[in-house]
């Protein structure tokens, strides 16, 4: 079982590496969106400091949404998905492997880039670990929920916009707790509660989302 999981993970990572230009687009999108905000709201340092957590989180959320449609599209087109559904290994296993690879290649770069971008907003140094941790806990949830949406809209015309419509309302709690964690730290109340909730959310999403995603894929292939 583990070897199947690893084989799929390895293959998806290899594919991402061979098509790495796509990954850079996601990261570049994140950076550009974050850098747009000062032009929109003005470069007043206090204001920038105040909006930094929200801006970084919204940008990370949009960037991971942008990459989502790639998650199953290629495998759907070339017939790999069919073969995966016929695997004797449980579907949840390989779905999880694909989501893990997806997060490692699109989510993790955002988590790493976020502290550097936070410096552009003059976010307090002490808040950087909280920001990183909140993104590290939150972006996997985005990937898991997004995978369900991507599976549901697989091969549907206008799928990209539809995917955004399906997934964005579900992202709201993650955004609230993620940006809230940084805000709470800055406000002095401590981010523990939000981070715990994000962790709980991640556990819940890990338990339920791959399962929902697998049934959605099965439905999509009928």
């Amino acid at each position: 079982m583990l070897s199947t999981f690893l084989a799929i993970l390895r293959r998806d990572l290899l594919l991402s590496w061979r098509g790495r230009a796509d990954l850079l687009v996601t990261l570049a999108f994140f950076v550009v969106v974050v850098c747009l905000f000062p032009f929109g709201v003005g470069a007043e340092p206090n204001q920038l400091r105040a909006i930094a957590p929200g801006v970084l989180w919204v940008a990370a959320l949009l960037a991971s949404l942008l990459a989502l449609h790639r998650l199953f599209a290629q495998d759907h087109a070339d017939g790999t998905l069919e073969q995966l559904l016929l695997s004797s290994e449980p579907a949840v296993l390989w779905v999880l492997a694909k989501i893990a690879a997806f997060w490692l290649t699109t989510g993790l770069p955002l988590v790493i880039a976020a502290p550097a971008l936070a410096l552009l907003f003059d976010l307090e140094q002490s808040a950087l670990p909280v920001l990183t941790l909140s993104l590290a806990l939150g972006t996997p949830i985005l990937a898991l929920l997004g995978a369900v949406g991507a599976a549901l809209t697989l091969g549907v015309r206008g799928g990209g916009m539809l995917l955004a419509l399906l997934v964005l309302p579900l992202y709201v709690p993650v955004l609230i707790f993620g940006a809230g964690a940084v805000d709470a730290h800055l406000g002095g109340t401590g981010a523990k509660a939000q981070l715990l909730l994000l962790g709980g959310g991640l556990a819940g999403a890990l338990a339920l989302a791959p399962w929902a995603c697998a049934s959605a894929l099965r439905i999509a292939m009928e």
């Binding site: 539809l162 805000d183 999509a220 009928e222």
Partner: protein, 267 residues
């Protein structure tokens, strides 16, 4: 090896998974047609009674004045929009587990009505908010969750319309409804949390300090009217969907011809 097929005659093949699977839409269609007008009539009666109490019996609220009378549609609409989502999720689960086509049809027939009530709740909430809070929209926990619920409805409707194969549309919509139903409480909780952090204790509109019994009666009557209305509209919509789905079958042909003849006879 053996390969066989039953003769092309019709009686030869049994219903494979119980009569429910195919017979239900056929029997449900006329039943829905008979029941719907009764529910609609009940809805009209209950709404008339509720509105009478709301406008002519219930006294003026000493804090909010007459504006509070919006409550008689705002609260029932908000309730109804949440109930309908839960009912959709319930029928979706039934459909996925039991593989009954009618369940999917019912949940799709409910969605536009749920979205309508959701919008009504938002609209009336905004109009109530203006004189009460001085703004049409505040990021109040209830209003915000209601807005997200509206997006969930839009997502469900858009997904089921976008997928052309009806069977896939049914199932994909059902999965989405279930995912949404799991998320609704989480969304509500998170928004409430966010709201208290950012605004302190919020002014909640549905929390009138002591609601007079007569107001409550009016509200409940309106809520019942909303239930009856939803059932009636959903039944009518189910009828259209059944015709659409079963258009190849002989019974739909017979029904259509009979209806055409009846309409022609009246003219």
């Amino acid at each position: 090896m053996t390969i066989s097929t039953t003769t092309p005659g019709r009686a030869a093949v049994r219903p494979p998974q119980g009569w429910l699977r195919f017979a239900a839409p056929q029997q449900f269609y006329p039943l829905a047609g008979q029941l719907a007008p009764w529910f609609a009539a009940l809805a009209a009666l209950l709404a008339a009674a509720g509105l009478y109490i709301g406008f002519f019996v219930a006294p003026t609220d000493f804090q909010q004045g007459e504006v509070y009378r919006v409550i008689f549609i705002h609260v029932p609409a908000a309730w109804m929009s949440m109930f309908i989502y839960l009912i959709m999720a319930f029928w979706s689960a039934v459909g996925l587990v039991m593989n009954t086509r009618l369940s999917f049809i019912v949940s799709q027939a409910l969605a536009p009505t749920g979205a309508m009530f959701c919008f009504v709740a938002l609209w009336t909430g905004a109009l109530w908010g203006k004189p009460t809070w001085g703004a049409y929209w505040v990021w109040d926990a209830r209003l915000t969750s209601q807005l997200l619920l509206l997006f969930l409805y839009f997502g469900f409707i858009a997904l089921t319309r976008a997928i052309e194969d009806p069977r896939r549309a049914d199932r994909a919509g059902a999965v989405l409804a279930l995912v949404g139903a799991v998320n609704v409480p989480i969304i509500y909780f998170s928004v409430q949390w966010w709201n208290t952090l950012h605004q302190g204790a919020s002014v909640s509109i549905a929390k009138a300090p002591s609601m007079a019994t007569i107001m409550l009666v009016g509200m409940l009557l309106m809520a019942l009217a909303a239930w009856m209305y939803s059932i009636a509209v959903a039944l009518w919509r189910v009828r259209a969907l059944i015709l659409e789905r079963e258009r190849h079958t002989e019974w739909v042909g017979a029904v259509l011809e009979a209806e055409a003849k009846a309409a022609g006879g009246v003219r």
